[in-house]
C-alpha cells in the first residue's frame, strides 16, 4: 500500500494549445539566448549530445553558453521515468507519483532559519480591569536539531502530511557544514516513518547519507526498491544559469540513483518576466534543462519536475506567495509537467506574513486550494511556513493539516452513481413519510465513513478566537506520544558506519 493523497479532477487553466505554445517558447529560449553554465561537466555533457557550447566571460568564473537544440531536450526528458516511487521507513507510507495521474500529496519545506513558538498569555483589559483574556504571543527561536526532531514527530501523526521535507535549518553550535547532512537526515528518519526529502549541503557527504539510508532501508537493493530518502537540487539560478556547485550535486545524485527534484524558483518581476507567459516559458526551460541533464548523465534517473515560481512584491522586491499570480504560475507549471508526463513537485501554502492569523490563513488557503485543484503529484511548502519561507511554525503546521484535510475533502471525486442516487431517492421517500421530516438519521453513517467533514477543530467557545490555543494543545498532545524510532540494532549500525552523527540524537 502507498499513501493515497487525493485524486482530483484537474482544473485546466491553460488550453492544450497554450501549453504547446509555452513548450515551444521554452525550447526557443534554450536555443536563444540559451543557458549560461558554470559547471564544466554539464557543459561537456550537453556538448557531447549536440548542444552548441561556447566559452564566455562572466566576471572571472569559468562558464559556457549552451544553446541546446529542442530535440536534445525532448529526447532526454522522454527518458525520464513517468512514475517515481518515494519510499518510506514504513512502506505503507511510500508515495507512488505517477506523472499522468493527478493525485496530490502534501509535504513540508523548506530550510527556514527561524522556528516560531506560540505562548498563550493573559491580558487584562484597561477599560474593564476585571476582564482577562488570553492572547497568543509569538517567540522566535533558531532552527536546531531538536526542533527538526519535533517537526518530524508532528509529521508522523498529522494525517495530511504525506512526506517530511526538512523544515528548519539546523544551526546548533555543534553542527558544521560537514556534519549537517548526516544529522538532518538522521534526525528526520529516526522520527518519522514517512518519506524524507532534503537538500544536500556538502557533496562530500552524499556517500555517508546514502550509506545511512541503505542501512536503515535494509541494504543497497532494498534502498533501490524503497528509496526512503530523496534530494532537492536547485541547480538553476534564474534567469537561465546553471550554478557550478548545485549542478555537480545533481550530477552525482543522478549517478547514485536516488530520486531527486530538479527545482527552479524564479521570481516574476525580478528573475523572470512578471507576465504569466514569460514566467512559465522561462521556468519550464530551466527545469527541462536540469531534467535533461539528469537523464544524459544516468538514463532513467527518477526525477521530479520541481516548479517553485513566485512573484516579486513591488514595494520591496521580496518574493511573495500570497498573490493570485503565484497560483497562476504554479497551476500552469503543473500543466506543463503533465504535458511531459513527469511527476510534479509543486508549491503551495506559504504566507508572506510573519505570524499565524487571518492574513496567514487567507494567503495559504488560497494556494492550498488552487494549486491542489491543478493536480500536481506533490505539493511542498504546505506546512507551517511563514514569512516567505523564512519561518517555520509548528502550531501553524497543525492548522495546515486540518485545513488541507478539508481541501482534500472538497476536491475529492463527486460520488454520483446510479446506486447512490437510488439510495438517496429511498431516503427522500422515507423521510417524507415521517412526521418530523428530518434527514438526521441518515447523517450518522455518512459522518462515520469520513464522507462528511467535522466542525472546525479549533473553534473557540466564546467571543474570542481560540484557534491557536487549541492547535497548540493538539500539538502538545502529539508530541507526548511515543516517537516512532528506528530499531536499536539498526541505529547502532548507523552510528558505527556513518561519521559525524551527534550522540545526543540517540536518546
Amino acid at each position: 500500500m502507498a499513501r493515497q493523497g487525493v485524486l482530483v479532477e484537474p482544473y485546466h487553466r491553460l488550453k492544450l494549445e497554450q501549453v504547446e505554445q509555452l513548450h515551444q517558447a521554452s525550447l526557443a529560449i534554450l536555443t536563444d539566448p540559451g543557458v549560461i553554465c558554470f559547471n564544466r561537466q554539464a557543459a561537456e555533457v550537453f556538448g557531447d549530445h549536440g548542444a552548441d557550447v561556447s566559452s564566455i566571460n562572466q566576471g572571472g568564473a569559468a562558464c559556457w553558453r549552451l544553446k541546446i537544440p529542442g530535440t536534445v531536450i525532448t529526447d532526454a526528458v522522454q527518458a525520464a521515468p513517468k512514475v517515481v516511487k518515494l519510499g518510506a521507513r514504513d512502506e505503507n507510507n511510500c508515495l507512488i507519483l505517477d506523472g499522468h495521474e493527478p493525485r496530490v500529496r502534501f509535504a513540508s519545506g523548506s530550510e527556514a532559519n527561524k522556528w516560531l513558538d506560540v505562548d498563550m498569555e493573559a491580558f487584562v483589559s484597561k477599560r474593564n480591569p476585571g476582564t482577562e483574556v488570553e492572547f497568543p504571543v509569538f517567540r522566535v527561536e533558531k532552527g536546531t536539531v531538536d526542533r527538526l526532531v519535533k517537526a518530524a514527530r508532528l509529521c508522523e501523526h498529522l494525517d495530511s502530511w504525506d512526506s517530511f521535507l526538512r523544515t528548519v535549518n539546523i544551526q546548533d553550535d555543534d553542527i558544521t557544514d560537514d556534519n549537517k547532512d548526516v544529522n538532518k537526515f538522521f534526525a528526520s528518519l529516526n522520527n518519522t516513518t514517512k518519506h524524507v526529502m532534503s537538500g544536500l549541503t556538502e557533496l562530500s557527504q552524499l556517500s555517508n547519507v546514502v550509506r545511512m539510508a541503505q542501512t536503515i532501508a535494509g541494504g543497497e537493493d532494498r534502498l533501490r526498491e524503497n528509496p526512503i530518502i530523496s534530494f532537492i537540487t536547485c541547480i538553476v539560478k534564474s534567469p537561465l544559469q546553471l550554478v557550478d556547485d548545485t549542478t555537480q550535486k545533481a550530477i552525482e545524485i543522478a549517478k547514485s540513483g536516488i530520486p531527486l527534484v530538479i527545482s527552479s524558483s524564479p521570481q516574476g518581476g525580478s528573475t523572470a518576466p512578471i507576465g504569466e507567459d514569460g514566467m512559465v516559458a522561462q521556468i519550464n526551460a530551466e527545469i527541462l534543462v536540469g531534467i535533461a541533464l539528469t537523464q544524459l548523465v544516468n538514463k532513467g534517473t527518477p526525477v521530479l519536475y520541481g516548479s517553485v515560481p513566485s512573484r516579486t512584491r513591488l514595494d520591496n522586491l521580496y518574493d511573495t506567495y500570497g498573490v493570485p499570480e503565484f497560483n497562476q504560475y504554479n497551476i500552469d507549471c503543473v500543466q506543463m509537467a503533465r504535458y511531459y508526463g513527469l511527476p510534479c513537485y509543486s508549491t503551495g501554502g506559504v504566507s508572506d506574513v510573519k505570524v499565524p492569523g487571518i492574513q496567514a490563513s487567507v494567503e495559504r488557503l488560497f494556494s492550498h486550494i488552487l494549486v491542489t485543484l491543478a493536480g500536481p503529484q506533490y505539493i511542498h511548502y504546505a506546512f507551517g511556513l511563514l514569512e516567505r519561507t523564512n519561518t517555520f511554525c509548528p502550531v501553524q503546521a497543525v492548522l495546515d493539516d486540518a485545513h488541507i484535510s478539508m481541501v482534500k475533502r472538497f476536491v475529492s471525486q463527486p460520488m454520483v452513481t446510479a446506486d447512490r442516487i437510488s439510495e438517496s431517492l429511498k431516503q427522500v421517500r422515507r423521510v417524507m413519510g415521517t412526521s418530523d421530516k428530518l434527514y438526521i438519521l441518515f447523517v450518522r453513517r455518512a459522518f462515520r465513513s469520513g464522507e462528511i467533514t467535522p466542525p472546525y477543530p479549533f473553534e473557540g467557545k466564546d467571543m474570542g478566537d481560540e484557534t491557536l490555543f487549541w492547535a497548540q494543545k493538539r500539538m502538545e498532545e502529539i508530541l507526548s506520544l511515543p516517537p516512532s524510532h528506528i530499531a536499536e540494532p539498526v541505529v547502532d549500525r548507523v552510528f558505527q558506519e556513518v561519521p559525524g552523527l551527534l550522540t545526543r540524537l540517540r536518546s
Binding site: G59, G60, A61, N113, G269, D315, N316, N390
Partner: protein, 230 residues
Amino acid sequence: MTEDILALIKENVIQGRITGDDEGFDEGLVGQAGVSELTETALAQGISSEDIIKRGLSEGMDIVGRKFEAGEYYLPDMLASAKAVGAVMEILEPYLIESNIKSKGKIIMATVKGDFHDIGKNIVSILLQGAGYMVKDLGNDIDPQAIVAAVREEKPQFLGLSALLTSTMLRMKDTIQALTDSGVRDKVKVIIGGVATSEEFAQSIGADGYGADGFQAVRVIEALNTSQED
C-alpha cells in the same frame, strides 16, 4: 537650450530610461533619446557635469523619491531611475576627475564565498548608484582574497558584503579578517546585509555597519560618509 536638455535628462531619470531602446512607463517613448544619449549631447554642448548632476539627476531622483514615499511609485520605478542615474555617473566619471569634483564615494559590493544569492545585493547596488555613489559590483561567490585585491586596486571608501545563508555569513568574518591581515582594514568601511545577518552579527564580526534593506543601506552609508568627512 541648456534648460531644455537638462529638463529632458530629468524627465528621463523619472522614466528610468537609459537609452533610446528603453520603454519607461509612459507609452510611446521608445526611440526617443534616453539619459545616455542626452548626457553625451549635453556634454558636447558644453554643459557642465555639475549642472547635469544637480539639475538633471538630483532633481529627477528627488521627485521619484518623493513619489515613492507617497506610495505613488513602486520600488521598480525607483530602481529604474537609480540605474539611469548610475549610467550617467559612469559617463561623467572622467569629467568629474578632470574638473576635480569629488563623487560621493566609491563602493565595492560582493556576495561572499559560497553564496549565490544576489537579488538583494543588486538592489542595494542600484540604490547606492542612484544616491550618487560609484559602485563596483564584484558579483557573487567571491573569495576573501579577491575582495582584498579589489579593495587594494580600487581603493573604495566602502565595502558592502551580502550573505543569505547561515553558513556563508561566516565568510563575512573571514573576509574582514583577510582585510585586516593584508593591512587594508582601516582603509575601507565595511557594511553588511542579507536576511540571516543582523546588527548584532555585524558588530560581532567587526563590521562598521548593517543594513536591513536597500534604503537602510543607503542611510547607513550616508551616515558613515558624513562621519568620515568630519
